[in-house]
């Protein structure tokens, strides 16, 4: 009943490899994932097939073995899943949740500078308090 297809955790691992390589054969994906997981070869193929059905991957069938290419950009996919998760959080808690992420994520100096600037701009128009919306009518 999902309107927009969703990428599962396991499928996400497959996509990461194809995003990183730009494109890949099933063999290449399998090689990498065999090192990271205990999944069987066929399992990984199943994931690739599901990703095609869901419209996240496209096989170039003009060559054998097929070359799989992403139909969605990594940044877009990240944007979607991250915002999807945050949509279900209490407004009031989002700031701290972001703090948590900052603590736990490796971030480059350059990115940190961008984040600080973003925050400084946001501060201009930021409210003193963000109210909890958990009991409100809109989901």
């Amino acid at each position: 009943m999902m309107e927009v297809e969703n990428m599962s955790k396991a499928e996400w691992q497959v996509m990461r490899i194809i995003w990183t390589l730009g494109q890949a054969t099933s063999k290449e994906v399998i090689e990498v994932l065999k090192r990271k997981t205990t999944w069987k070869t066929v399992t990984i193929k199943t994931l690739i097939i599901r990703l095609q059905k869901k419209g996240f991957l496209k096989a170039d069938e003009s060559t054998r073995p097929y070359v799989y290419k992403p139909l969605i950009a990594e940044t877009d996919a990240i944007h979607q899943s991250v915002n999807d998760l945050f949509d279900s959080l209490c407004c009031m808690r989002k700031g701290k949740a972001i703090g948590d992420l900052i603590k736990n994520s490796p971030i480059s100096k350059g990115d940190i500078d961008e984040l600080i600037e973003l925050l400084q701009n946001k501060r201009e128009t930021a409210p003193d308090e963000v109210e909890c919306d958990c009991l409100e009518a809109s989901l």
Copy 2:
């Protein structure tokens, strides 16, 4: 095969209400969720029961109707799900993903100040670049 029980999207909506109220009867939960969703009463009860089975909620059965209380703190649950998601992202992309969240989330001035400080401290020891780890052996 999940080691640690996971809270589904729909279950999360139930928890939000109980977290916000501190505790609640099924009726209270249902009243709020009827305003936010199209779920039937029984559907919501199913979710409450699943949350009990998973150990996220506990019913105080000494009174009728039962009063449900959270067994996990909201902040802990948020910490877990947010970090769980970020664990599956490419290292290299996490900084921008956080930027995305900052852009899209309402954050109070106080929280913004904390985030800025956090970032300034983190900057001291931050690397110039974060390398992509998508092809590496550890999941």
